[in-house]
């Protein structure tokens, strides 16, 4: 299929392209690659791409050899601990570090006024509980933490607001220096005519949905090790974006980009919270400079749970209407989001515009600042919250209309992306509905089985959309060593998603190399070419094409060298399993034989990610089906079964991709049933900052999960045919589970997590009616 871009699309020239990141659209000027490999279409014959290859770095991960930031030890390394505010709002009257300084092993203290302005650290004004106010550096982690506790702080407290209602009340206290509400509120997105849409509806459903604050709870906390050599700084950081950390550190400390090197080898989870440098990074770098030694600063668990980002809560007032035959006529949502002290407008609204072909859609979102730690992207930001509102309302409306929820959705399937009226690069959502329903055994005509008087079984479903095209800039090199092993060099990150494996598969396929000869070298800003953050489910679709192009470039050079050795034309050669064959002959040579003859002459292929196709929506889709069992006496919900069918274009490695689906579903299950940060409205403090009190799913909570991909490849999206997959499976899980609970108890559920008391309250409310 032709790939159209705006402007003169000549190799070497520059064009404008758009990239969607976490639901935001960014415009970029990018270079057209020197050549673009022909797209791998649906019928491309591929051997390594698409294979269930074991995760290539798994041996490191199962043997204890994988080195995470928290495991990094440098000669003479010191340790830092951060002191945090214990009040939500006020000013520091005094901070006395004399006792801390006198403690054994303590070397240095940073307090108010001691950090460069760019770090925005250690101001006297307090905006939330958990805000860094000072830091201690000591010979051991123990000494640093003990000394941090010994710092005496006196505050002058000020009134605060930690809820949306309190922050937007008429006489609300000043949450921060600027206003309590994001500028230009409410953020309105609208198409069609809402009044006409509601008038045209035969049935209208109105509901108010509430979602909780969810905490990332990555098991490896945020952390950094910093070390200076002269004016050059090296930072080991547990991050999803080494180049973004480099940029943050450079700006915050006022040193040039080229003097900062950021390294990330392995990391213990990110989920959106680790997209840049943080206080721990700057504290490590500042102490390292002052002490002339390497410094490690790792968040403790309480800091990780209270000040490392979160998915903000939301209240969504939804009005949704349809004709008797199920044709949607109006979708309206008025949405409140308390962001914390900082954040961006990645709100629940967008998915309301994107999932269905409804002519009249309007969302009004108000983002308020509150005296709590700021939000951060969290797996499917906005869409996860929005899907709970939209999909729950869709299920409620289907019930009113006496329509099957799947048939209702099929009826309102969007043939073009409805928010921006663009064609899709590919869309197999209908196939997801069909195959998911088949595998699940979906039929709403079933009698609801009743195990006994107490236990009720119910089922429900929900759908998902998420922009996953990825895009430039992203660069890669593919280097063939003189022993015929192959290095893929790209400055990207593997969060545990499998990027090393997937990129190696793409390179091996393109080059005709044995996968066991290929190694992906990633995670170092100094020695590797630029790629962007591993966010927005973008890595495979962004870096994958650059790797493929680099491998094709390396193969071209290899064939030219081998052609000279064979006395054959390069285009008469083929490669497979690290062996070159002259087509239609029995003449053959291994890669190792070619590289042995080349000696130290190296083959280095170069690749870059080309622009995205113009005016095309590139999205991943899916439908999930849930079966639950509810104990009517205790309100305890047990999820029995989840079936998930998703469309993400070509799947490079089904095993790893299915692991992503399961992981997203399980985080969605936690969001639906257990996970909720509790922030006391009167104290302004987090009441459950431990893993014991903030409940994430355990193995005992896991249902049978059958998660799979519908067949396909997306050669319009990019020439590998792959779209992103990490975030999408989290989006429909909670509304599907909530719909199943609603089905089981015969009452609406409008607020998650569905803890026992909320379920019992829903049952009691039904009994009162």
């Amino acid at each position: 299929m032709p790939r159209k871009t705006k402007g003169a699309a000549k190799p070497g020239g520059f064009v404008q392209t758009t990239v969607e990141i976490e639901g935001r659209t960014e415009t970029r000027i990018v270079e057209i690659p020197a050549f673009e490999p022909a797209a791998w279409g649906t019928d491309a014959e591929l051997g390594i791409v698409g294979a269930r290859v074991p995760r290539m770095d798994a041996p490191e991960r199962v043997s204890g050899r994988a080195r995470y930031t928290t495991d990094i030890v440098r000669p003479g390394m010191l340790h830092a601990a951060i002191v945090r505010s214990t009040i939500p709002r006020g000013t520091i009257r005094s901070l006395d570090a004399s006792r801390a300084r006198a403690m054994p092993g303590v070397l240095d203290v940073l307090g108010p006024g001691d950090a460069p302005a760019g770090t925005r650290l250690f101001g006297r004004e307090i905006f939330y509980a958990g805000q860094p106010i000072a830091a201690v550096c000591a010979a051991t982690g123990h000494a640093a933490r003990s000394a941090a506790h010994a710092i005496a702080v006196e505050y002058d407290t000020l009134p605060f607001a930690v809820t949306f209602e309190d922050a937007t009340a008429k006489d609300a206290p000043k949450v921060r220096a600027k206003g309590n509400v994001m500028e230009n509120a409410p953020l309105v997105i609208s198409r069609g005519d809402m009044d006409a849409g509601l008038k045209a509806a035969d049935v209208i459903v109105r509901r108010e949905y509430r979602t909780p604050v969810q905490l990332h709870t990555a098991l490896e906390p945020h952390g950094a090790v910093a070390e200076w050599e002269g004016d050059r700084l090296t930072v080991w950081e547990s991050t999803q974006g080494i180049f973004r950390v480099r940029e943050n550190v450079s700006k915050a400390l006022g040193i040039s980009l080229s003097k900062v090197r950021v390294i990330k080898d392995y990391m213990g989870g990110g989920f959106g919270a680790k997209n840049g440098a943080g206080p721990h990074t700057y504290v490590a770098a500042l102490f390292a400079k002052r002490q002339g030694r390497a410094v490690r600063c790792i968040n403790d668990r309480e800091a990780e749970q209270t000040d490392s980002g979160n998915r903000p809560s939301s209240t969504q007032r939804v009005t949704i209407g349809a004709k008797k035959d199920g044709t949607l006529t109006a979708i309206f949502a008025s949405i409140d989001v308390p962001l914390g002290i900082s954040g961006w407008e990645g709100g629940p609204g967008q998915i309301y515009h994107e999932l269905y072909a409804c002519p009249n859609v309007r969302t009004e979102e108000t983002f308020a600042y509150v005296n709590a730690s700021g939000m951060a992207a969290f797996r499917g930001p906005g869409y996860v919250e929005g899907a709970f509102g939209l999909e729950s309302a869709m299920n409620a409306l289907a019930k009113e209309l006496k329509l099957d929820p799947v048939a209702f959705r099929v009826k309102n399937f969007a043939k073009r992306e409805p928010r921006t009226d663009r064609p899709y690069s590919g869309n197999s959502l209908l196939q997801c509905y069909k195959e998911g329903a088949e595998v699940f055994g979906w039929s709403t005509n079933d009698q609801r089985p009743m195990t006994n008087d107490r236990l009720r079984v119910g089922k429900g479903m929900a759908a998902q959309v998420w922009p996953t095209g990825g895009g430039p800039p992203a660069y890669a090199l593919v280097r063939m060593n003189s022993d015929a092993t192959v290095d893929v060099l790209a400055g990207t990150q593997d969060l545990g998603t499998g990027a090393r494996t997937v990129l190696s598969q793409i390179a091996a396929e393109s080059l005709g190399a044995k996968l066991s000869d290929v190694r992906a070298i990633i995670g170092d800003t100094q020695s590797l070419p630029y790629t962007g953050n591993s966010w927005g489910s973008m890595t495979t679709a962004s870096v994958g094409p650059a790797v493929r192009m680099a491998a094709e470039d390396a193969r071209r050079q290899l064939f030219e060298a081998a052609g000279a050795m064979f006395d054959a034309a390069p285009d008469a050669l083929e490669a497979r399993d690290s062996r070159i064959v002259v087509r239609d002959t029995d003449r053959t040579m291994t890669f190792a034989e070619v590289t042995a003859k080349l000696g130290n002459v190296m083959i280095i292929g170069k690749g870059s990610r080309g622009p995205n196709p113009a005016d095309t929506a590139i999205m991943t889709f899916g439908a999930q089906f849930a079966e639950v069992e509810v104990d009517l006496d205790t309100g305890i919900v047990r999820v029995l079964r989840i079936v998930a069918a998703h469309d993400a274009g070509r799947i490079i490695n089904p095993t790893l991709a299915e692991s992503q689906l399961e992981g997203g579903i399980i985080q969605g299950l936690g969001y639906a049933l257990f996970e909720e940060r509790v922030l006391d409205r009167r104290l302004g403090l987090v009441m459950n900052p431990t893993i014991h009190d903030y409940k994430i799913p355990t193995m005992a909570d896991i249902p049978l999960i059958d998660a799979f991909f519908v067949a396909g490849a997306d050669p319009v999206a990019n020439h590998t045919g792959a779209r992103g997959i990490a975030e999408p499976p989290m989006i429909p899980a909670a509304p599907a589970i909530a719909a199943a609970v609603s089905d089981a108890i015969g009452a609406d559920v409008t607020e998650i997590p569905l803890t026992p008391w909320r379920v019992l309250a829903a049952i009691a409310a039904k009994a009162r009616r």
Binding site: P59, G496, I705
Partner: protein
Amino acid sequence: MRLTVNGRVHTLDSALPLSLLELLRDRLALTGTKFVCGRGECGACTVQLDGETVYSCLTLAEACDGATVLTVEGLAPGGGEPSLSPLQRAFIAKDAAQCGFCTPGQLMAAHTLLARNPHPTDDEIRSGMSGNLCRCGTYPKILAAVRAVADGEFAGSAGSAEAGSAEAGSVNAA
């Protein structure tokens, strides 16, 4: 104090005010065992102490005088791939590690579980492993891996060309 870790005897200052986890990570440079919560809530620091599963973050080093400790580094005595244990090979083959941060603790919990109960039911695995949290959501794969080892799927030596081999060279099209 004397402590045997992964078959090696260490003689250490008995006055160390450390947890067993700190002793392993900071003194013996065995960083495979992870610190996550420090209060026995997550299981990331799980090791085997005299045949029992313990949270090393809550175990005083001083109380381990004369004890025998097994950590993830000791599951594969050679450290390298050919000597990976059946459980480690099963974790690779079933894709039971995503970020891998909880994996050492999961492996040690599973190792002790299978040592005590070589043929657990799925529910016994779920219950036995529910003290080890995983945020990436690898639970279905961990269950599959432990199940496979219990069923003898990985009983052969690592060199055999079974599905669990991490050698990715011989790839068949899916």
